[in-house]
Symmetry: C2
Amino acid sequence: MFPEALSRLIAEFKKLPSVGMKSAMRYAYCVLEMSDEEAEDFADSILEVRKKIHICPLCGDYTEGEVCERCQTADKSTILVVGEPKDILAIEKLGTYDGLYHALHGLLDFRKGIGADKIRIKELLSRLDGVKEVIIATNPDISGEMTAHYIAGLIKPMGIKVTRLAHGIPMGSEIEYADEMTLSHALSDRKEL
Amino acid sequence: MFPEALSRLIAEFKKLPSVGMKSAMRYAYCVLEMSDEEAEDFADSILEVRKKIHICPLCGDYTEGEVCERCQTADKSTILVVGEPKDILAIEKLGTYDGLYHALHGLLDFRKGIGADKIRIKELLSRLDGVKEVIIATNPDISGEMTAHYIAGLIKPMGIKVTRLAHGIPMGSEIEYADEMTLSHALSDRKEL
């Protein structure tokens, strides 16, 4: 139905997260309607991001420099641990945390054979000099919980405080509709008013 | 907040239709997580589509060949006229039309200075040899209606039948919620049962 090169571009767009056939087709037609210069800029920006951006050897976030700026300037007494670099962004947006980050690039998942050696836990352990608190902010699912407890088990014996983000009823939602796990966390982690 | 190359890629994704900041960021992170080969394939598919695909000199649809296959094999007694190549796709999907198409690559819009010489009307007139019916399928808005009437005014005097897609209440909708223009079309174009 489509010329081959167009089919191929549509297939490439479909690999992006949550992009179905309809969006992929719209994006591909948009590329066809671009000027030559615009299309070259687009293709070039994909190659450029791969060439220039790499993973900071300390925190694991994406950076253009050798070591990322945050690792050089942040308060070094706290490390906040996340699964993926994109999770750092969500915390950064708050604008209230000024410590270090550490992206594990994955979470433990023994069913999939992802053990501690497959994610950046060794790198985390090598950064603990002078650190007073490790805040674990992995996703609240089985892998995230397992990873949080695994890391806590390694770090707490070193005398470093290990905390994790509070789980509970999300703001603006209704208790009636909260799932059992969330409600159970909210109850056991209750705070005095 | 983002390294420069990443900001640039996000900005490129935001140029695609209906892509906001959040989707653009997810797409960009997806590119960062690709293998080198996948990223190169993606960039290459953008350049390839521009290199290989061009506009068929007859119908104006996108094609890889010199003249598109449809212009060579379709029933040549009918031409269906659309605004953009992507509109051809919607009709093709029905699988019931086997005539020629003609993409105008634009619609008349005198406020924006888009006159008859800016869209592929001349090319349409040069294709009418042996054509018995011209079906106009421009969008049902001011520009689409104006273009439809302009083309009809040129072609009807040649003794060629000019029709346009029926406007009316869309299937599955409710008369109560139809807008005035649609309802007025549906009434005046009523069919005998």
